[in-house]
Amino acid sequence: MHPFKKKMQVGIIRFPGSNCDFDTFNFFKRFGHKSRFIWHKDTKLPDIDLLVLPGGFAFGDRFYKKATAKYIIDPGAMALGSPAMQIVFLAAEKKLPILGICNGFQILVKAGLLPGRLVRNVSENFFCDYIKCKIVGNSFFHDEALQNKIFIVPVAHGYGKYVIGKKELQVLEKNGQIFLKYANFNPNGSVDNIAGVSNKDGNIFGMMPHPERSPDGKYFIRAMEKYVRK
């Protein structure tokens, strides 16, 4: 890392069942940033520059009333009941940058912080492979340098099909909120090849592909560094 560049303080929320928590932690560490885990039962927003909801299977993708009783599969739904969601909503209110990756994206959508819905892949199967993605719209954290660039960003999910109403889609397009699209192969049947969207204010970003696994990870890090420094 450049000597006079400021270290980012990153908070990573750990739900029971998050399994990209360490990958995300190491991703930021690799570029010299400092991460800390926030347990899903915590309620105090620590002093951070960026909040990340990592990938995985929070609560096993389940939704249940009692842990030992019957459950339905609904990724992200159960996490809404976690005390740490107070931190997420507070961070959103304070306009802190928030990034949701894969399962984190699903949670942000469920929480209503991002538009649309994420449903079962068209194939009805989990899918994992390297995929080419194109930066579009207002770009990832508004980094103009990334505009129209294509990166290899792996995907790994079973519920990643992004669906949204026609009118809302037009609004998203107009506002430039769609920042990532699958470039040459749509692994899940998403509307308009959408892979990632932001909120209207442009501080909350959610994406199905995993930047922490990407050989092009540094571009994503740089965009976040720039945003935080501003």
Binding site: D23, F57, F59, D61, T68, F126, F127, C128, R213
Partner: protein, 525 residues
Amino acid sequence: MVNISYEQWKNMLENKPIPTILAEAMASEHTSYKSTKKFLAKLPTKNKYVIQGPGENAGIVDLGKGWALALRIESHNHPSFIKPHHGAATGVGGILRDIFTMGARPIGLLDFLRFGPNNKGKQLLKEVVRGIADYGNCVGVPVVGGDTYFDATYNHNCLVNVAAFGLVKKKNIIYGNALTIGNDLIYVGARTGRDGVGGAQMASENLDLLQESAVQDPDPFLEKLLLEACCELAETDWVEGMQDMGAAGLLCSTSEVVLRGRKKTGANLGAKVYLNRIPTKAPKMLPIEMLLSESQERMLIVGHRRHREKILKLFEHWDLEACIIGTVTNNGKYTIIYDEERRKNITLPMKFKDIFPDVHKDWEMKKWKPQRSCHVKVNHFLQKDIWHQYDWMVGTRTIKGPNEPGHYAILDISEVDKELVVAWSSDEDRSNVSPTQGIKYAFDKCFSQLKSLSAKPLGLTNCLNFGHPRDSIGAFAETIDGLARRCKTADVPVISGNVSLYNAHGSHSIKPTPILVMVGVRNKK
């Protein structure tokens, strides 16, 4: 406390007295290796890299710089044929627990699938892959390799072998033993149900005799919580032992930890187990069912008495149900106590040699008669469809995964600044023609693969899938002899393994199918 006779307890059960049932369970092929142990003894299991050989939950080799690798393979053939999704998923769960029981964090899985070429086989394959994917993806351990073959010999006996490996700091290795009198036996994880009662015996019988009820239910989310909790426990000095409740469940795990402790310390250790403290999910479970249930995602922790509160608190943090179910004693006996309210308290002390009978079974050594069916590798497209369903990148260590051809995987081990190379054999059809030549070829394949990638071989694990011993034990013996010779010459020890006999239907046995997985390390480029 009132001691009751075997006959009195008999009334509570069906026909047999408890100790007989227990001894039978422990004497099943799956737990006692009664037909194969005299052959297995020939395999070399030691060299300077081996920290733990066969006999524990997983084998462990030294990676240097204070780190070690745990490695194990297991079969889940019978359950996968009866209930493919559940069978395969619980197979993955079991092998992962074998790894993190040693205090190691699992970093990779391999799956070896063999099915009949008919519609039934293809349907089974689909379900099995879904089972592995549902489980492995959720727990967050990547499937980094494996292979799939079709052969009519597997029409009535599919093979589902899963290998796993994990990383552990040498100082954090936990063994499956109880060493100190007065320490707690702690039960943690899922509640005990009726699922999987008699699973160990199932794996030791022909498929014709089996039922669905002996297949367990999988819960990958619970497994993930257990994994994290156990990895955190491994970083402390609060526990002296951990044991997965696998085959023959509570009985096997509680008695095995004490037996290992007896061997290690020479002390006359024993155990007391209070059955009424076991958390159950089914109503009115009989003591025998609690002892033999193979409900998944359960662990036995041998915790230091003085750290009891901290251990329980750690489990609470992970929302896991834990309770003290017994204690380590010094009377040399394995005692079951069942003191339900309004009933007479029951105490049943047993001697260890009664629970662990030293059984042997000899079979006539017949020469293997080769079968004629074709052994075909799965086609490229189906292969791709299979590995696309596995998260093969989680953990961000995968350098060479299933996305590129080749019977090997490469993983980044940044902790020791090295790369782990895992090679596996396939093409077992050669073992059908000649078991000796087949295993030698398999070994040479793995060995030369590692050499060609400039990796130093450290050890291997094997899953030996054979048919009914009456016609296959000869092939088994030949395989072991061939493997032992190669291992000695090349100085590659066998650090863990699994034997699956009785892969037979009527008078038809499967072709001898030994699977080898060899691990090695190389310097980073």
